[in-house]
Symmetry: C2
Subunit: 222 residues, 2 copies
Amino acid sequence: MSHFTKQVEENYLKALFKLKSREIKKVNNIALATYMELNPATVLEMMRKLADKNLVQVLPDKSIQLTETGERKAILIIRKHRLWEVFLVDKLKYKWNEVHDLAEQLEHIESDDLVNRLEEFLKFPAFDPHGDPIPDKNGKIKLNATIPLNLGKKGKTYTVKSFAETEDAFLDYLTNINIQPGTKITVLDLYEYDGSSSVQINNNKLHISEKVAQNILVQLKK
Amino acid sequence: MSHFTKQVEENYLKALFKLKSREIKKVNNIALATYMELNPATVLEMMRKLADKNLVQVLPDKSIQLTETGERKAILIIRKHRLWEVFLVDKLKYKWNEVHDLAEQLEHIESDDLVNRLEEFLKFPAFDPHGDPIPDKNGKIKLNATIPLNLGKKGKTYTVKSFAETEDAFLDYLTNINIQPGTKITVLDLYEYDGSSSVQINNNKLHISEKVAQNILVQLKK
DNA sequence: ATAATATATTTGGGATACCAAATATTTTTC
DNA sequence: GAAAAATATTTGGTATCCCAAATATATTAT
């Protein structure tokens, strides 16, 4: 096994986990290849290897699923990623929208003990800087019942909890329009035509696209 | 360029730097291959690639040298390594002899900004947990005039400053015999026959081999 | 100086992760 | 149900990093 096989493998597992939590429909070869920006042939080849290792399962309808082992691995990588993000923001004073790429590197550092010590050092944070829950060392994730903002109801006010997308371009946009976990958003109008909506944030009115609203996860304000 | 080319390259540069600081004689292909536990053919091939990139130079006598650029890169990797070691010991409460392998992973995280922030977070430490100096962000190394313990004089007392070897087996041994940076060692006797010596550490007499003594770097106690 | 030894280099090959293009197969649409 | 579109798979090929074994070239010892 090459030195870097493990890191590559981890990227596939993580991608599968993310796609699964993000999409309703089944994850197929093309979807995974598109998401990972890889050639379908490459992905197919790798799926066979991962299936041999009992990390994924290809169902008769060709959809790809993580096995229990695979999902567990994926969750532990995400745990690492999110804990490192907390470190970068809390200790090294990075902004919450600057840390994704660094955490993407740090998540591959191989040592369970290190992650557990990091968690303790950070005082067992429940959420990362984007508001996503941090799985515990057994892979348990506290659920944070949220809906995407585009399913919000006209006139209601919601609290931003987390985001379904962690690309820098998206996070930069959010910073720009002043949205972060904890922000209160009131849905003023929903436009069926393109799925966009008009919202109010701290006395500012704003128009946001469906794509953006889908990636903002909120809870009804009590 | 593959994803991991950079990491591989960094390992070669670091190995060359370490060999250079450790040995008097020239570093040749075999020495480097032996040190890195790689086949000479592999190393030769890589030296050509690194020479093309102006990171190393192969002299007419076949000895291998880092170029200025190569050395600079090597030093910055060592800087990262040592800063992460401080983090692991000071913040995550690792013992100083447990951190080498983890730092070996962390040193490849790619971000100058991250290292500089880490340094600031750690309050600009001058030495790592093994007593080795931490280069500054420009690659400057504070020198710590030391001699290997095997060159110590009978009857003199020395202060342990750092170590010339960072393998776990060696560090474990040191922990066992209670030697760390700061420890005072008195040379009681030197045996020419095998280069071993008899020393006193905190009222305990101890016999150490030449190999061990060579890797313990000390300063005469004032 | 020659044999023995050490070092350097070449040659041919392997594993991993990737791709583009061709070919199957399945699904959708009309 | 046939054509079009989407998806899946195969095939042939690339780059990187690695090795073992053969060969060439130095170096050392006698």
